[in-house]
Amino acid sequence: MSIILPGEHVPARHVNLKLGPGLLQLSSPDKRRGIADEGLGIISTKAGTLHHSTNQSKWWIENNSRRYVPAQQESVIGVIILRSGEGFRVDIGSAHTASLDGLAFEGATKRNKPNLKIGCLVYARVSLAHKDMEPELECFDAQTRKAEGFGELKEGFLVRCSLKMSRLLLDPKHFLLPLLGHRFPLEAAVGMNGRIWVNTKEMKHTIAATRCIEAVDPDGGGMDERGVKEFLNALDVE
Amino acid sequence: MGSRVEILNEGGFRSDGRRQYELREVTIDLSQQGQADGAAVITHGLTRVMVSVFGPREAKSRSQTIHDRANINVEVAISPFSAGERRKRSRGDKRILEMAATIKSTFEPVVQTTLYPRSQIDVFVQVLQQDGGLLQGCINATTLALVNAGIPLLDFVCAVSGGVYSTSPMLDLTLLEENDLPNLTVAVMPKTGKSTLVTMETRLHVDRFEEIFKLVCSASHALHQEMKDAVRVRTTSLVTAMGTTQSNVGGDTMMDES
């Protein structure tokens, strides 16, 4: 892992190379400047940290932006903003609103579509992400047609955070969610689009969880584990 | 400029011959104006405001539709000839925009907008003459025009202005008084006595404020009576006009009031 700035060359070489977000292969390596010697002419387009898979076949750049760019198979949390004949328009915080088919739910049929109101929260997976098309979502696994946790999120509260924070929370080794879960029963859904839904039995627990997430967010407080423990003790959560 | 004029003389009279707590003469005209669904012209002394209401009707643009209630659109125009000095205000004038926004948010909780999802109610306010109490005139005329258009309201909204001359509170200020005194305008819903609008823009001690605020609230009930009477006269005359020819088409009810 290293810090990289836009325009830097990336020494990625692999027979089956896959480039993730923030990386670009120049269409014709510019030989006059001798760039070809430095690899396949792959440069970064974002500032961030450079990552690659263990066998060096997949490369990507992580950074801490707040604007979500949809990518296939990522889980996101969206807000229904419009109901149209066949489905819903969903705001997922990206440049364009996403569409969610009324049939892309577990057990949905032509006759029996889920009745989501404007303003409902849904946990969904991005099924189509293409730069020239609007993103599409689904609330089930297309093969098994089972919900697998996707669908409407009822009650609870929505926390908005940086994308980095979303990725941190998805890491099972991250301390925050286990720490909170240790204090009080907690339900959470993490969207890759910088939205985290939390639900607890008591309102003050939800508020505590919200404030902890905001405090830990590297874009905000960037509090560490010890800080969070003290913070939780200071809050009245019992 | 007003220093030569006595706001309140020793006999307890104001510059236009009124007493401290006296409202100016109110006239209300609820007759049909053009194609409007409801209209009203109200005068408070020399202040005269006309309001036309259109709707609820199809919203003009998609961005103005609200999926679960009607959108109230208010436009205020002040006639250039309405004041002593002829002056044309542009539509983008901040004072006019503020007044339109004020009227809109005053009526939003009063009009039952949820009955008309995705529709639009247009309120056009035209100030014809101004002599103080502009906002009160606009609000009262809007109430009457909305009632006249058959748009469901939780209650009337009655606005009255007031001011304080050294320590004496006064009601319904003229332009002359308004320029010299700290003044406020309050819009009250008479049934509950709650106010939807309170604005005061000049420095006044908290204790003085309390006094005039309570006085203005109670004065609004007198105005409410005037407005109710006007609407009642108008409604009665329309029902009577309809009723007299209706007996031969199977009308089952007759008026017993005349």
Partner: protein
């Protein structure tokens, strides 16, 4: 495109927790976010932050010829603008409703309530007066930008010092701040603005200094501007949920006590800043 309105779970949770007098940032219903005041290198340059709401205020003064109808008075003007930098909700071009309210409110609170003694800004009657210009820049909107802007404005005016001048006949000499210590503006009083938010469900108590989400979901705002001497400068409830007269008077009382606290806080901050600065002018 304006961002969509908050989702149903957010709305319901906020209402439920406010009903239990719990706020998402841990404040009491009538508690103000503690203002952070940062003074810039120049006099009259103040950045005020209420939580994540930030407003920058800057004052300067220049010598102008007064308008013929008011030869003995200096001029005060306020420029304010809400641009999309504060929040994607605002657009360029047409003034939004928030901008109209804020511009008008700043004008009423800081200019029309005679905060500054205009006559003291007169140098030579009909010839030379000071024109004090206050520029307000809204940097980020996390709720209650109006109070933040008013606070930034009044602090900037109190922080500002104009150059010392000397009048000999018709000759005006402006002394550089390095030669003679600049002098503060003559300020009659310091009004502070307090905004309360109300909700459609009347069992929710009113809250002071609403956050962005609270403001979006509120059904009416009451702004009260007053000074520590119990004088109301502006009281403004432009529509929204109807309120009983007593609850409005109640709010006034709360604002009175908050104004005294805030006045003390601002005094202290200005004192600390000024004591740190005096060294520069020696």
């Amino acid at each position: 495109m304006r961002p969509p309105s908050p989702s149903i779970p957010e709305k319901e949770f906020l209402f439920a927790s406010l009903k239990a007098s719990l706020r998402l940032d841990g404040r009491q219903p009538l508690q103000l976010r503690t203002p952070e005041l940062t003074f810039g290198p120049e006099l009259g340059w103040v950045e005020c932050a209420l939580g994540k709401t930030r407003v920058l205020a800057q004052v300067d003064a220049k010598m102008v010829k007064p308008p013929p109808e008011r030869p003995f008075e200096g001029m005060v003007s306020i420029h304010s603008e809400i641009s999309p930098i504060a929040s994607p909700e605002y657009e360029f071009g047409r003034a939004s409703e928030e901008e109209v309210t804020m511009t008008r409110m700043l004008d009423k609170v800081l200019r029309r309530s005679d905060t500054i003694d205009k006559e003291s800004l007169c140098v030579i009657a009909g010839q030379r007066v000071w024109h004090v210009r206050l520029a307000i820049h809204c940097l980020s909107d996390e709720g209650n930008m109006l109070d933040c802007a008013c606070l930034a404005g009044i602090v900037a005016l109190r922080h500002f010092r104009r150059p010392e001048i000397e009048v000999v006949g018709d000759e005006v000499t402006i002394h550089d701040p390095t030669e003679r210590a600049p002098i503060p503006l003559a300020i009659h009083h310091s009004p502070f603005c307090f905004t309360f938010a109300f909700f459609a469900d009347t069992s929710i108590p009113p809250i002071l200094d609403p956050s962005h989400l609270e403001q979006r979901l509120s059904a009416g705002l009451v702004s009260i501007a007053l000074n520590a001497q119990r004088e109301i400068c502006v009281l403004q409830k432009l529509g929204g949920v109807p309120l009983a007269p007593d609850s409005i008077l109640n709010l006034v009382e709360i604002a009175v006590s908050r104004a005294k606290e805030l006045d003390r806080l601002v005094d202290d901050k200005l004192k600390v800043d000024w004591s740190g600065r005096r060294v520069e002018f020696r």
